[in-house]
């Protein structure tokens, strides 16, 4: 983000630390800390309600994060590269509206999926073109497209809703692949592996990190900065389309207010997963664990009958606390040394 506050202050970027072994590195890592939190939340939840440990219940709990996490994977790459997309929730709304519209025209499931993916792709291309083609700051562009995309949904739908999705379309959000394992969860797991490979094992992923750390340096070392960033916006758009297919299928209806406020939860998930909001560092395993943590926390609150908006206080606090924590720790350490 070109808005990122401060050139004056030390940035959050860190060069890869040179520790002895991968195991050693893991033991002091953010991911391990998160994993402990996840286990703690899981144990707390099992005390919160006797029904929690039921396998069907646990399977239901995964719906709290699978769709958001699909977007979070792509968003993680985008944020690592130093950009952001605040329009993802609105892309879901627009995609879902387009699919709903197609249903009214009598479209069947394969066509609906195709439309979902294409609309997501088109929205991502629009964001990417504005950011890379004109050199505009992504935060303002996507604040703009956030109103634009959702605005189009409101124009098309008004205060109505689209229903009447074909029955086999319901599989994407309600189907089970193997006993209690839902289709969405399988998709989530596959995408997690795919994105982890892209980010950590390919030249493209390497380029994403380099761009996040030093865009000019990346350009001088021959990386097609604009092309990589454009691809990342496309990826985020497509993943929003995939999430829209799953969500619409799960709800069986499209309203213009669908997925309202999700952009915050997706960004929170990414940041909680240890991705620096200033770009340059982060990992997919971190985002996966963060997704579990957030899903389990929301599910736990649900078991305790806490209303959604009170949950959002917690998510807001979590977002700020997670970013503040390492900085506070660093400041305290510096003070002790001085």
């Amino acid at each position: 983000m070109s808005l990122a506050s401060t050139d004056t202050k030390a940035t959050g970027r860190q060069l890869p630390d040179r520790l002895k072994t991968p195991l050693h590195r893991f033991l002091i890592s953010w991911e391990l800390l998160l994993l402990c939190v996840a286990v703690a939340v899981f144990i707390l939840n099992s005390f919160a309600s006797p029904y929690f440990l039921d396998p069907w219940n646990l399977s239901d709990a995964t719906f709290n994060f699978t769709e958001k996490a699909m977007i979070a994977f792509a968003m993680a790459l985008l944020i690592i590269s130093g950009e952001i997309d605040l329009s993802v929730a609105s892309i879901i709304a627009l995609t879902s509206t387009a699919m709903g519209f197609a249903v009214q025209m009598g479209a069947d499931t394969p066509l609906l999926v195709l439309i979902g993916l294409c609309v997501g792709l088109a929205c991502g291309a629009f964001n990417g073109l504005l950011v890379t083609g004109f050199g505009l700051p992504s935060i303002v562009v996507t604040i703009g497209t956030m109103s634009l995309f959702r605005g189009i949904s409101y124009i098309v739908l008004g205060d109505k809703a689209y229903t009447g999705y074909p029955s086999n379309f319901a599989f994407f959000g309600q189907g089970y692949v193997w006993w209690v394992i839902s289709f969405e969860f399988v998709l989530f797991a596959l995408l997690a592996v795919l994105f982890a490979v892209i980010l950590h094992r390919t030249n493209f992923g390497r380029a994403v990190f380099v761009i996040g750390n030093n865009p000019v340096g990346a350009l001088f070392s021959g990386i097609q900065v604009a092309r990589v960033k454009f691809t990342l916006f496309l990826l985020t758009g497509v993943m929003s389309g995939v999430a829209a297919i799953c969500l619409t299928s799960r709800l069986g209806a499209t309203r213009p207010s669908i997925a309202f406020g999700w952009e915050l939860e997706v960004v929170t998930m990414v940041v909680l997963g240890g991705v620096s909001i200033l770009g340059g560092s982060g990992s997919i395993p971190g985002v996966v664990i963060a997704a579990f943590v957030m899903g389990m926390v929301t599910f736990g609150f649900g078991l305790l009958n806490v209303p959604g908006i009170v949950m959002s206080i917690f998510i807001g606090l979590l977002l700020i606390a997670v970013i503040a924590l390492p900085r506070v720790a660093r400041q305290l350490l510096a003070r002790r040394k001085a």
Binding site: M1, S2, L3, A4, S5, T6, D7, T8, K9, A10, I84, L130, T132, F134, G135, L136, P137, I139, V140, V141, I143, G144, T145, M146, S147, L148, F149, R150, G151, Y154, I155, G158, I211, P215, V216, A218, L219, F220, V225, A226, L264, V267, V271, I277, L278, P307, I309, V310, M311, S312, I313, I315, G316, L317, L319, I320, I323, A324, R327, V328
Partner: protein, 327 residues
Amino acid sequence: MIRSLMKSREMILAAAILLLTAAIAYRFPAFVAPSNLARVFNDTAPLIILALGQMAVILTRCIDLSVAANLALTGMVVAMLNVAMPGLPIPVVLVVAIGLGALMGLANGLLVWKLDIPPIVVTLGTMTIYRGIIFVISGGEWINAHEMSDTFKAFPRQVGLGLPVLSWIAILVVAGFAVLVSRTALGRAFYAVGGNPHAAVYTGINVGFTQCAAYVFSGALAGLAGYLWVARYAVAYVDIAAGFELEVVAACVIGGISIAGGVGSVGGALLGALFLGIVKNALPVVNISPFWQLAISGSAIIIAVAFNATSSRAKGRVILKKAEHAL
């Protein structure tokens, strides 16, 4: 002379507003009747007040997405205060509203200053936190017109010198901000911090403090607008002004305030807000459903930011042409 005027963003925007109004007036002459224009200005007053606070924040390279939530929380608190103590004089209510708003702004500012958290993360977080708190303190209940005292509701609507108090407050805030940014050290520091933080540090400006001060201003104005909003519409509930922060940012961006910091004027913010206010008020007049509003303001942001970027790209020494884009 004419050329530099043509280039000034405020002039272009003013011309766009005149054209827009003329186009509407061509079909619906009643729209430009002085009384209706005064009504449009009054409708836009909260947006103007908030846009000026946001301008200060954006000038220092930050952003405040929590203004609408701040407005709603302050509005709910003063409404509840009014229900509990109907006799409380208006000046006290105003002080409470501004003070509470400033406090919430201070919370944003301190997180940005002392903990170095990126502004967008801070205000995305506090936005949801403030909204959640409204639900917690009100239990999700509405506070309706009949529960509020008459003096509480009447204040923003009292007419003096031909305009309601709400409009006069907006005018006062504009005048106050014009003095602040052009005549005070703090106002100049906003520009210095946004223009070049490194240089600002060397000239003895405390960057973090200046950013924090901008947040306090933005918060205080949001608090003020919170009371005015609730009193004017005579209702307070959790979702008041939902999504209004985008309109506020849009007003600033349309008004030529650079999101990269350091560039912008009070006149620009005022015109940006007026532009959106006129569009919003004209939609029902020209028979377009209000559902179009979100899409229109979204497009306006995108066009304005694209226009800003192409017209004000710094002409430095370009070693590698594409490097500019990469940043």
